[in-house]
C-alpha cells in the first residue's frame, strides 16, 4: 500500500507533539484514533500553556490590580486576539468566549428571543435550519420557536448527502428572521454551499448563523468571506481544551442585541433596581470565564496556524480521498454522505451490511481503533436515510494512511466476526 499521497503533512513529526497518540490500549495495541469529529487530541504545546498559566499566572480576570490579575487578564484577552485573527474577524471585540458551540448557538437564539425590532423573533416570523444539523443547532431553535410562536422550517437533504436547495426561495421568505446552518456536517461530512443561502437571507433581511464546529479545526475560516452574522465553534475539536467555545458576531449586532446571562463582568453599573451593561464582548460573558481554557485555545490556534490551515486542509483532503477509495473495497459497506471527496470534510460515516454500528465499534475498539457509533447527535440525518445509526471515522492533521489501512483491516475482521 502506497503511503505517500500528495499533500500529506509530516505526520511523524506532528504526532510527536501529541503524547496520547503514543499510548497503547487493550494489552499493547497501538491507538488508532479516528474519532476527531467528536473531539481532537491535544498537543504538548496546549497542555504546557495551560499548566504554565496555572503554575505562574492564575488569578481572576478584569478585576484585580495585582500582578497576577493583570497577567491573567492579558493572557485571556490575548487568546481573544488570537482567535479573532484566526477567523479574520474585523475586530477582537466581536469574539465572545462561551463554554462550547452549543452554548454559542443557545446564546444567539436567546439574544433573538429577547431582542427588540427589527431582530425580534415572534409568532409572525420564521426560523430556518437544515435536516443535517447537530442537535445543538436544532434544539435551541425549537425552544425559540415554541416560546415565541415562530415557525421552524428546514432544508431537506438529497440522496447523496447534500443540502436540497431547490426550494430556497420558498423556504427563506420575507417572514424569515434567522437562518442557521452547519458549514460542515458532523455526520455526512458535507461541506455546504454558503453563498446562495447567505444571498437569499440577505435579500429578505434575515440574520445568518453558521455552525462552524466541524470547519474551524480543519480549514481556513474567514468570517468576513462567509458573509454570516454569527459563527459558532468549539475549542476541543481544534486541539484546544474542553470548556471553551466561541461565538463570533458582527459588532453592530452585538451592540444592539440584549445580553442573555446576567452577572459579574457583564455590567457597567448596577443599582438595586436596574443595571447597564458593559460593551461587547463582555456583555455576553457573565461570571468568571474559562480562563485557562481560553489560554489553551489560544495556544491551539498558535499551533494550528504554525502548521498552516491550508496545509491541514490539503492533508485531510488527501486522507479522506484515500479513505473513500479504500472503504469502497469493503463489501457491504455503504457510505452515508457524499462518496466523492469534493466539497467534503474529513468525516466519513458508513453502514456495514446489517451489522449494527455498536457491534462494529466494539469489535474495532478491541483492535485499538477508536471510531464513533450511533446517531452522532444528529438523529434526523439517520431518519432521513432510514438507518438506525452509523459508524463514523473522522480524521485530523495527525491521521495517517496507515490508520486508514488499519480501519479497513478492522472492518474486514468485523465482517468475519458477525458473518
Amino acid at each position: 500500500m502506497s503511503h505517500t499521497l500528495p499533500g500529506l503533512l509530516d505526520t511523524e513529526a506532528i504526532r510527536k507533539d501529541f503524547p496520547i497518540l503514543h499510548r497503547t490500549v487493550h494489552d499493547g495495541k497501538p491507538l488508532v484514533y479516528l474519532d476527531n469529529a467528536a473531539s481532537s487530541q491535544k498537543p504538548r504545546q496546549v497542555l504546557d500553556a495551560m499548566s504554565e498559566y496555572y503554575e505562574r499566572h492564575h488569578a481572576n480576570v478584569h478585576r484585580g490590580v495585582h500582578v497576577l490579575a493583570e497577567e491573567a487578564t492579558a493572557l485571556y484577552e490575548g487568546a481573544r486576539t488570537k482567535v479573532a485573527s484566526f477567523v479574520n474577524a474585523p475586530s477582537r471585540d466581536e469574539v465572545i468566549f462561551t463554554k462550547n458551540a452549543s452554548e454559542s448557538l443557545n446564546l444567539v437564539a436567546n439574544m433573538l428571543g429577547w431582542a427588540e425590532e427589527p431582530y425580534r423573533v415572534d409568532d409572525r416570523t420564521e426560523i430556518v435550519i437544515t435536516e443535517m444539523e447537530h442537535h445543538s443547532n436544532i434544539v435551541p431553535w425549537q425552544f425559540l420557536a415554541q416560546r415565541t410562536g415562530a415557525k421552524l422550517k428546514w432544508f431537506g437533504l438529497t440522496d447523496d448527502g447534500r443540502l436540497d436547495l431547490s426550494n430556497l426561495d420558498e423556504l427563506i421568505t420575507e417572514h424569515t428572521k434567522v437562518v442557521s446552518f452547519v458549514l460542515v456536517s458532523n455526520v455526512l461530512g458535507t461541506h455546504n454551499p454558503v453563498e446562495a443561502i447567505v444571498r437569499r437571507a440577505q435579500q429578505v433581511g434575515a440574520l445568518v448563523v453558521i455552525d462552524a464546529s466541524q470547519a474551524a479545526p480543519h480549514m481556513p475560516l474567514d468570517v468576513q468571506a462567509l458573509g454570516a452574522d454569527f459563527v459558532a465553534f468549539t475549542g476541543h475539536k481544534m486541539c484546544g481544551p474542553t470548556g471553551i467555545g466561541v461565538l463570533w458576531g458582527r459588532q453592530e449586532l452585538l451592540e444592539d442585541l440584549p445580553p442573555f446571562l446576567g452577572g459579574g463582568e457583564m455590567i457597567e453599573t448596577v443599582t438595586m433596581s436596574s443595571s447597564t451593561y458593559a460593551p461587547a464582548p463582555h456583555k455576553f460573558e457573565a461570571g468568571t470565564p474559562p480562563i485557562a481554557e481560553a489560554v489553551g485555545l489560544g495556544a491551539a490556534v498558535d499551533y494550528l496556524t504554525g502548521i498552516g490551515m491550508e496545509r491541514i486542509a490539503a492533508h485531510e483532503q488527501a486522507i479522506t480521498r484515500y479513505a473513500l477509495e479504500r472503504l469502497a473495497e469493503v463489501p457491504d459497506l455503504r457510505i452515508i454522505g457524499p462518496v466523492s471527496s469534493e466539497d467534503r470534510g474529513a468525516t466519513v460515516s458508513f453502514t456495514l451490511g446489517d451489522i449494527h454500528p455498536h457491534d462494529v465499534g466494539q469489535v474495532l475498539d478491541e483492535q485499538g481503533i477508536a471510531v464513533r457509533v450511533g446517531h452522532h447527535c444528529a438523529r434526523p440525518v439517520c431518519l432521513r436515510y432510514g438507518i438506525p445509526a452509523t459508524t463514523r471515522a473522522s480524521f485530523y492533521l495527525y491521521s495517517t494512511p496507515a490508520e486508514v489501512d488499519a480501519l479497513v483491516r478492522g472492518l474486514e475482521y468485523v465482517r468475519g466476526f458477525f458473518g
Binding site: 466494539q362 469489535v363 457509533v373 450511533g374 446517531h375
Partner: protein, 159 residues
C-alpha cells in the same frame, strides 16, 4: 485473533440468538411499550400477553445491536410460560448481573435461574453496552406493570 475480552462479550450463545431470534415479531398483547436507548438508537416495541398471572407471550419488534437483539430473544425464551413471580425473579437476577460491572461470576444457582442469559455476564464489563442488554428487560417490566398494574407487580416482587 479472537480476543479473550471480546469472546467473553460476544459469546456464541449471544451470536446465535442474534442471528436466529426467538419469538420476534409483534403479536396480540395486553399492553405495548416502546423503549429507546438514546445513546445508540436501539429501539424496541414490546407487547406482553398474560393468561391470569402466567406470561402467555412476549412479542417484540426492534432494531439495534447484537446485544440488544439477542437479549430480547433470550428474554422471550426465558419468560414465556413462567408465572409472574418467577419471571420477576429472573428479571431481577439478570438486572443484578448486568449491574455488577463484571464483578459477579455466575454460580450454578444463578445459571439455573438465568439459563442462556448468563452468557451476558461479560457485557456487564462494558458500561456503554449494559443499557443495550437491559433494554428489552426494562420494556418487559414496564409493559407488565401496564398490563397487570403496579400493585400486583410490587406484590410479586420478592427482592
Amino acid at each position: 485473533m479472537r480476543l479473550e475480552a471480546m469472546e467473553s462479550m460476544y459469546q456464541d450463545v449471544i451470536l446465535d440468538h442474534y442471528k436466529n431470534p426467538h419469538g420476534r415479531g409483534l403479536r396480540d398483547g395486553d399492553a405495548e411499550v416502546h423503549h429507546v436507548n438514546p445513546t445508540c438508537g436501539d429501539e424496541i416495541t414490546l407487547r406482553v400477553r398474560y393468561d391470569g398471572e402466567t406470561v402467555a407471550d412476549v412479542s417484540y419488534e426492534g432494531q439495534g445491536c447484537s446485544i440488544s437483539q439477542a437479549s430480547a430473544s433470550v428474554l422471550n425464551e426465558l419468560l414465556v410460560g413462567k408465572d409472574l413471580a418467577e419471571a420477576l425473579a429472573v428479571q431481577d437476577t439478570f438486572l443484578r448481573l448486568m449491574q455488577s460491572k463484571g464483578q459477579i461470576t455466575p454460580d450454578d444457582a444463578m445459571e439455573e435461574v438465568l439459563e442462556d442469559a448468563v452468557a451476558f455476564a461479560g457485557v456487564s464489563k462494558y458500561p456503554a453496552r449494559v443499557k443495550c442488554a437491559l433494554l428489552s428487560w426494562m420494556a418487559w417490566k414496564d409493559a407488565t406493570a401496564q398490563a397487570l398494574g403496579d400493585g400486583l407487580v410490587n406484590e410479586r416482587t420478592t427482592s
